[in-house]
């Protein structure tokens, strides 16, 4: 009998609940609010069968484009052939969590604004650009014993002793 390619095929492990995390869903998933433009991660919760996305979207991150009563519209990139399509899907909030992908950027924005304001107060111009990690600086090696190694001249008689 052939394998079958139904909607939830090959999801035995990815849609199953983790070890010792079955049962009642924690309430914070229901208390979170999402606004249009937020980044969210899609992670299917097998305990809630309604509003599940297709298995392709499990593990994808997208942006919120719509908010309804119990679900969220997420815009996810999908490669189809030779192009990437921006797909719009609706997912229930149990299968969605806020993404931390832009957290570092937002923190850096706040930090930079603060630094710039302080520098302006002092009257100096600073650059808040990130610099790539450069080559390591030079250093003196401590406690090294110098040993000069020279090659010994080839000795036909002795070296051929073993095999011949």
């Amino acid at each position: 009998m052939p394998a079958g390619h139904g909607l939830r095929s090959r999801t035995r492990d990815s849609f199953s609940r983790p070890f010792r995390k079955k049962g009642t869903i924690a309430l914070t998933t229901y208390l979170r609010t999402y606004k249009i433009g937020d980044y969210v991660d899609i992670k299917v919760n097998g305990a809630v069968q309604k509003g599940m996305p297709h298995k392709f979207y499990h593990g994808r991150t997208g942006r919120v484009w719509n908010v309804t009563k119990r679900a969220i519209g997420v815009e996810v990139n999908k490669q189809v052939g030779n192009r990437i399509i921006r797909k719009r899907i609706h997912v229930r909030v149990e299968h969605v969590m806020p993404s931390r992908c832009s957290e570092e950027f937002r923190m850096r924005k706040i930090q930079n604004d603060k630094l710039k304001a302080e520098a302006k107060a002092r009257g100096e111009v600073i650059s808040t650009k990130r610099q790539p990690v450069g080559p390591k600086p030079g250093f003196m090696v401590e406690g090294a014993m110098l040993e000069t190694v020279t090659p010994i001249p080839y000795d036909v008689v002795n070296d051929l002793k073993g095999g011949y």
């Binding site: 010792r20 049962g23 009642t24 924690a26 229901y30 609010t33 309804t68 009563k69 119990r70």
Partner: protein, 301 residues
């Protein structure tokens, strides 16, 4: 006793999944809680208020709470043990007291939100089903009844508290099926019977029958009532006065409390991290000094 093989092996404990803490304690029904708290996502941060009613053995707790990730926030609370301020001296956990507590909470919340003039509610407690009419300026305060883990049977005291809150002016979606006095055969609420319960008529009737038939039991059962000088006939008047007093001034009264007494400490106080580190350093130094002294002795010898 015969040798019994150990039932709960190490494997059992390794695989055991504990239920949520409040479920283990038997205090929260998560199935109901999820449904009460879930707010429409397109309403964003609008709070969804629950009218929580809980009964202990000697007290009634009524709260208006809204949920948040950090923990629920209580907007206002009313307890049956506050009712002595309003004139209720005995019987703090009966249907009538529950009605008073619900009424007190409703008036308190409305006063807090400055809606008390707009939403008077039902001033004359008649026992009929009463729902708030929305006024022109502001919509009524909406809350959802949270009974907790009690069995919702007809005539349960939580519905007494619910009736009190409804008559106080809150908008709580409800039906009259579970109020005291609902007739299952005729499928309608008898307002007369409900009114009797609201004014403690059922308590008064029991008092009367006990006085006639079993005076000793009356003395023991209603000892608080006797001490406060409450008679069966005067209960309705008393409850009417309590309702009026609640409507007059529902604000919470702060009571002066002395600072708690200092008790002798019977167990050792836990040390802080710094203290433990300092102790360790002192011990090691002491050891080192002993070792040094021993070394010096050996060197000398």
């Amino acid at each position: 006793m015969a040798f019994v093989k150990a039932q709960k092996s190490k494997a059992y404990f390794k695989r055991y999944q504990v239920k949520f803490k409040r479920r283990r304690e038997g205090k929260t029904d998560y199935r109901a809680r999820i449904r009460l708290i879930n707010q429409d996502k397109n309403k964003y941060n609008t709070p969804k208020y629950r009218f929580v009613v809980r009964f202990t053995n000697k007290d009634i707790i009524a709260q208006i709470t809204s949920a948040s990730i950090a923990g629920d926030n209580v907007l206002a609370a009313a307890y049956a043990h506050e009712l002595p301020h309003y004139g209720l001296e005995a019987g703090f956990t009966n249907y009538a007291a529950a009605y008073c507590t619900g009424l007190l909470l409703a008036r308190r919340v409305l006063k807090m939100l400055e809606m008390e003039e707009e939403y008077e509610g039902n001033v004359e407690a008649s026992g009929e089903d009463f729902s708030v009419e929305p006024s022109d300026t502001r919509r009524p305060f909406r809350a959802l009844l949270d009974v907790g883990l009690i069995r919702t049977t007809t005539g349960n005291r939580v519905f007494g508290a619910l009736k009190g809150a409804l008559d106080g002016g809150l908008d709580i979606p409800h039906g009259d099926k579970r109020f005291a006095g609902f007739n299952k055969e005729k499928k309608e609420l008898d307002p007369e019977v409900h009114r009797r319960y609201i004014f403690g008529g059922h308590v008064a009737a029991y008092m009367k029958t006990l006085i006639e038939d079993e005076p000793e039991k009356y003395q023991s059962h209603f000892s608080e009532y006797i001490k406060q000088g409450l008679e069966a006939d005067g209960l309705e008047e008393m409850y009417k006065k309590v309702h009026a007093a609640i409507r007059a001034d529902p604000t919470m009264k702060k009571s002066e409390k002395e600072p708690p007494k200092e008790h002798k400490r019977y167990n050792l106080k836990k040390l802080t991290y710094e203290q433990r580190k300092a102790k360790l350093i002192a011990r090691v130094q002491a050891l080192n000094s002993v070792v040094d002294a021993a070394e010096d002795d050996e060197d000398d010898e």
